[in-house]
Symmetry: D2
Subunit: 140 residues, 4 copies
Amino acid sequence: MPSNARTVRIEWGDCDPAGIVFYPRYFAMFDHSTSLLIERVVGMSKHQLYETYGIAGYPTVETRARFLAPSAFGDDVVIETSFGAVRRSSFELTHRLSRDGTLAVEGFETRVWTVRDPAHPGRLKPQPIPPELVARFTAA
Amino acid sequence: MPSNARTVRIEWGDCDPAGIVFYPRYFAMFDHSTSLLIERVVGMSKHQLYETYGIAGYPTVETRARFLAPSAFGDDVVIETSFGAVRRSSFELTHRLSRDGTLAVEGFETRVWTVRDPAHPGRLKPQPIPPELVARFTAA
Amino acid sequence: MPSNARTVRIEWGDCDPAGIVFYPRYFAMFDHSTSLLIERVVGMSKHQLYETYGIAGYPTVETRARFLAPSAFGDDVVIETSFGAVRRSSFELTHRLSRDGTLAVEGFETRVWTVRDPAHPGRLKPQPIPPELVARFTAA
Amino acid sequence: MPSNARTVRIEWGDCDPAGIVFYPRYFAMFDHSTSLLIERVVGMSKHQLYETYGIAGYPTVETRARFLAPSAFGDDVVIETSFGAVRRSSFELTHRLSRDGTLAVEGFETRVWTVRDPAHPGRLKPQPIPPELVARFTAA
C-alpha cells in the first residue's frame, strides 16, 4: 500500500506542563500526514481534489492511538503514514511515529469519502470513491 | 462602550513546558471573547450575523498584547472585553485578563468589517459597518 | 461509576475550513473533562493531587473515538465523562459528547498512574493507584 | 542582525471556517521560529541553553502583529525572523511572513531573559543576558 514518511520537529507549543507532547497534537500531526499522503498519491492538492471530484472532504469517522513513549520539545520524530483497507466509500490509514528508530505512537483512522447531501443542506453523505483513486490508494 | 466579562479556567493543554499559558492561546481566548461580545451586543449569533448582513467576517488586521504575569493550569482568569474606537469599516477591542483581581494580560485588536470581493474571487474587501450596528457597538 | 457533565460552546478556532470541529480538538476537550472529573471526585486540584501523591501525572496510553455527527461554530455541546474499569495502576474513561440530546462523538481513553522513575531520570513508571482513590474512582 | 528563514506549509488544522489561518496560529509559528533562530545563533538546543545558563526561559512580554493578507490551507509561506534591539535583559525579534514574495504578516515581540526567583518560588525574574550571547544576538 502507498505510504509516506516525514520528519517533524516537536515544538514548544506542542508540549504540556509535563514537558511532553499534549496528545491531541499527535492527531493534528497525523491529519496533516494524511493530507500529504493523499496529495502525493493522487498527484493534486487537496484543493484541486475537492474541485475535481466535487467532494466535501474525507472526514475521520473513527480513530484510535496507542502512546508507547513520550516525545519532548526539540525531538525530531518520523511519522510514517500508510493506506490500509480501501472500501467502497471509506478507507483506513495507519500512522507510525518513531523517535531514534523506536516506535513511540501508533495511530489508526477510518475516513469516509463524502459529498454535500442535496436533500439535507449543510450535511454530508458518503459517496463511492472513484475507481481511479481506489487504484491509486491500493497501488503496490 | 459595551463590554463583556467571562471566567476562563486555564486548561492543561493551554500550558507549555514552563507550566504557564502558551501565549498564542491567549489570542484564541480573546478571539472567542470578541465573538461572544458581538453576539450579545447585536443580539444574534455569529452565523445569523453573517447571513443577515451578507458579510464574510470581521478579521483581525492588527493585534498586540502585553503579558504582565503568567497564568498556570487550573487558574480561573477573568477576561473583560470592551469595544474601543468604531470607525467607518473597522473597530477596536480591548481585552483585560486578570487573576485574583490583578491584571495579567492586556490585548488590543483592530478588526475590519468585510464582504467577499466580487471583482476578486476568494478575496475580501472592507465594507462600511451598518449604522444600526455602529449604534450598538458604541452604545453607552 | 462517578461521572461529570459540562456544556462546551464550540469556538470559531475549534473549527476547520469545512466549518466543523477539527477532530483533534475533541481530544483536548476530553482531556480537560477528565481533569475536571478527577478533581471533583478526589476533592482536590490537579496541582494538589500531584503534590499529595507525588505523582508525575496520569498520561493517556490509549485512546479511541467515533465521530458520528459533526458540530459547528456556536453549537453548545454536552460532554459527559464517566469512569470505566479501574485497575491496579490504570483506569479507563468514557466521554459522550452530544448536541441537542443526540450522541455526536464517543471517546474512550486508558490512563496510567505514574511516578518519576528514579532509575531512569526523565522517565515515568506506573505505580499502583492509592486504595482511597480507587474507592473514589469506583464509588457507586 | 542574525536572521533565519524557513518555509511552513499551512495545514488544514491551522485554518478556520473562513478557510484562512486562524491568527493565533501565526504566533505559534513565530514562537517556533524564534526558538530555531536562537538555537542556530547560540549553537545549542533550547534544552542545552536552559541547562548551560540556568535560565527559566525567555518569555514573551509584549507582541504585536499586522495581518496584511490571509493565507489558506496548502499555501507555502516563508517566515523570516531577525533579531532587533538587544538590551540588558530583554531582546526583540521581528517576523516577516510572506507568500509568493509578498509580505502577508508582520510580527514583533519582546522577550525577557529570566531565571527562577529564589525569593518567590514559582516566579521568574529578569537576568542580564550573558555577554557572549549578546555578542551572538547582535553579530553582523
